[in-house]
């Protein structure tokens, strides 16, 4: 049974026609289901958990990356299948998951190609994409059998699944997270970074003073961050053009 969680931004009239087309197509494909609408003062977690308790087996985030993020928070450790039906301005997840935007996504949903993705966890908070911490020089990374320290300011990224960039592409199904350290190199003509990448299962990063980490865009403050990978934790509907 499907449940479609509509992002609150979709209340805007400019999405009315597209939503109607999508609902018609879902009905034609036989995958129509309950519709739940996120709202500013409504608890998304409680809303979605109620639906799962009611027998929903697939929760579809209708919106963008942030909508998917809220659905993932609510689904938690349950083995409910999650999907993204992209409408409106999109982030990176649409392309990474191989989901077309709008009505075309309905057919991909119907095909139901499900992948089990790894999920990262930092201090008990789950993330699907990455954690970013600003440039600092006062931290130590404890990998268990060895430690790494920057010799000058470096930014930290712990990545599970993100668009390819200067650090390449990391797989969300390799049962690993990647620690990416970027150490700026300054020259007269450009500012580049020396990039280090270390795959890991668990590690701890300790700072001398409080820092703010961005966990899939949400703030998390602290001095010590304990990371671990949760392999195959999330079942997601993907398209054939997925980037992994």
């Amino acid at each position: 049974m499907y449940c479609y969680v509509y992002d609150e931004a979709l209340q805007d009239r400019r999405f009315e026609r597209e939503l109607a087309q999508i609902e018609t197509r879902l009905t034609d494909l036989g995958i129509a289901g309950k519709i739940a609408r996120l709202a500013l003062f409504r608890d998304a977690n409680e809303l979605i958990r109620d639906e799962i308790r009611g027998g929903v087996t697939t929760v579809v985030a209708v919106g963008n990356d942030m909508t998917l993020r809220r659905v993932l928070d609510a689904v938690g450790e349950r083995k409910t299948v999650v999907a993204l039906l992209p409408i409106g301005p999109q982030g990176a997840m649409t392309e990474l998951l191989g989901m077309p935007t709008g009505v075309a996504a309905c057919d991909v949903l119907s095909a139901r190609i499900i992948e089990s993705l790894d999920v990262g966890e930092v201090n008990g908070k789950r993330f699907l994409q990455s954690v970013h911490i600003e440039e600092r020089a006062d931290f130590v990374v404890d990998h268990g059998t060895y430690t790494t320290t920057p010799q000058r300011k470096a930014s930290v990224e712990v990545r599970n699944f993100a668009a390819p960039d200067d650090a390449g592409m990391q797989s969300p199904i390799d049962e690993r997270l990647s620690l990416i350290l970027r150490v700026p190199k300054f020259s007269l003509f450009s500012k580049k970074a020396s990039i280090g990448i270390v795959p890991f299962s668990t590690l701890r990063i300790s700072y001398e003073t409080n820092v703010t980490a961005l966990v899939d865009g949400e703030r998390l403050n602290g001095k010590d961050f304990v990371f671990r990978v949760i392999p195959n934790a999330l079942r997601v509907v993907t398209g054939k053009t997925r980037k992994f």
Partner: protein
């Protein structure tokens, strides 16, 4: 600047590592490493790298400085900018013009390590 391919470990320039590193795939060192290094895959040591460690690798391409013993099951290539102080055990060895090599070399199927002690730990006479 090394770019990740998703299957390798890269120690960036400007980063120091202390302890026992066991890499899951290929390994690129452009920073400082102190301890031991092991990989079944390929090892590349960059020109600005400093490695004070005993090393085991499948193949190795060195353009930086190593102080320690190295065991390479396949090919070890020392590029002209490299500096090696320690014993080498390898199957195939290539030393470029200008590379610095100070230590014992053992090669071929009968090669055995000359001892596990790191050069850095040897008491000065």
């Amino acid at each position: 600047m090394a770019k990740g391919t998703g299957t390798e470990t890269i120690i960036a320039h400007g980063v120091r590592l202390d302890g026992d590193l066991v890499a899951e795939g290929d390994l690129i060192i452009e920073g400082e490493v102190h301890g031991t290094v092991k990989t079944q895959g390929d090892l590349r040591i960059g020109e600005q790298a400093l490695v004070e460690a005993d090393i085991e690798a499948g193949n190795a391409l060195v353009s930086g400085a190593i102080r320690g013993n190295i065991l390479v099951r396949g090919k070890l290539e020392l590029l002209p900018s490299s500096s090696m102080t320690g014993d080498v055990v390898t199957d195939v060895l290539a030393i470029g013009p200008g590379a610095q090599m100070n230590g014992c070399i053992s090669m071929g199927a009968d090669a055995t390590p000359k001892g596990k002690k790191r050069v850095a730990e040897t008491p000065e006479e």
